[in-house]
Amino acid sequence: MTALSPDEWQALALSLRVATLSVVVSLPFALGLAWLLSRARFPGRLFVEALLFLPLTLPPVVTGYALLVLFGRHGWIGEGLAQIGIVFAFRWTGAVLAAAVMGFPLLVLSIRVAFDHVDRRLERAAESLGASAWRRFITIVLPLSTRGIIAGGVLAFARAFGEFGATITFVSSIPGETRTLPIAIYELMSVAGGDLGVQRLTLVALSVSFAATIAAAILGGSLWGRRRDD
């Protein structure tokens, strides 16, 4: 098997960039929403949860179409954003948005579970020591949830790295702009003589996903010391 062609490198680099940015951009929102779902009781909570999980349950092509309706050049939100120079449709930024939306439920779910597992008594202790809600979140809840946040980030990254349906629907396949690795594999499959390219990129996809999972296990275990059961 020969080395990756320039086009394949381009698809790989784009996928890595899109997947990484999708996690970075959605992380603050995921932290906020996970905290709300873990700690707050508010009306319409069930509705928010149902909405959150829609990208997991809807056909990706429907999510892509919804993004087009909302964020397309003439979309409900996209038209306004375009006037201030923010364009998603048929741009790599749109691929980031699609990947972020698809990975968001996994990110929120992992972080929320981690928040749920933080011993509330520690937060009460911090409160008695004068810590505001924000300080308790930053100094107690966040550091004690590191593993869950990393696990969620990796899951969302892996989901974003493999994202296909919503992306191709929303931003199509433009080489160097929106043709991510899965889309490149899909297109190579329909090209005569594309078999080797498909195999190369499949191997790359497998390696990246596997490496990400291993990295998460190592990082998650060592960030604030190994968990002790004593």
Partner: protein
Amino acid sequence: MIELRIEHALTDLDIDIGFTSEARCLALFGDSGAGKTTILNAIAGLLRPDRGRIVLDDQVLFDSATGIDLAAAAREVGYVFQDGRLFPHLSVRANLLYGAQARRRKTTQLNRLVDVLELGALLERRPQTLSGGERQRVAIGRALASEPRILLLDEPLTGLHREARVQVLNHLRLLKQELRIATLLVSHQADEVSALADDVIRLHAGAMTAHISVAEFSTEQP
């Protein structure tokens, strides 16, 4: 000076208690389930009583009649929980400094506390690596380091083996002499109360049955 009157219904206990005390160390003595910890939580602001009024040195912390309910973070109490509750991801030093940092205060007491509680060798360690007695000493130091107006001790010696118990008790005695801070001690151990308290309130099933001096309390003990 603490003035407290609270009514609070728990699932298995109705608490109805009131007292005023100027004792430097007041003990709430009674069996488990008498409502002792509930009272501490109400003073700390971690539990909102159904009705009542709590005043600490002329500052109203809670008054159901006028709707005053100072946030726990603003009450300036030092609470030593029965189960320690040290922050597992922070070193002993960071645990000790937590309250002072949260209250944006300079810690003038830290070195003295580290000396009195003999924490010098433990400062860089994590709570998980400490013995029960060491953890409790750190918890006491953490509660005091932010220089609270009152120290709340909830069964501070429970769960410790005999040697650690004696050691922590001696440290508490020493702190009482050194710091002269108002203290509310919750305990069901008579020897602990006799060793530390000036006045004692006996509690039974959510109600006060006696408010006596520690001398009277000690003579009552078998």
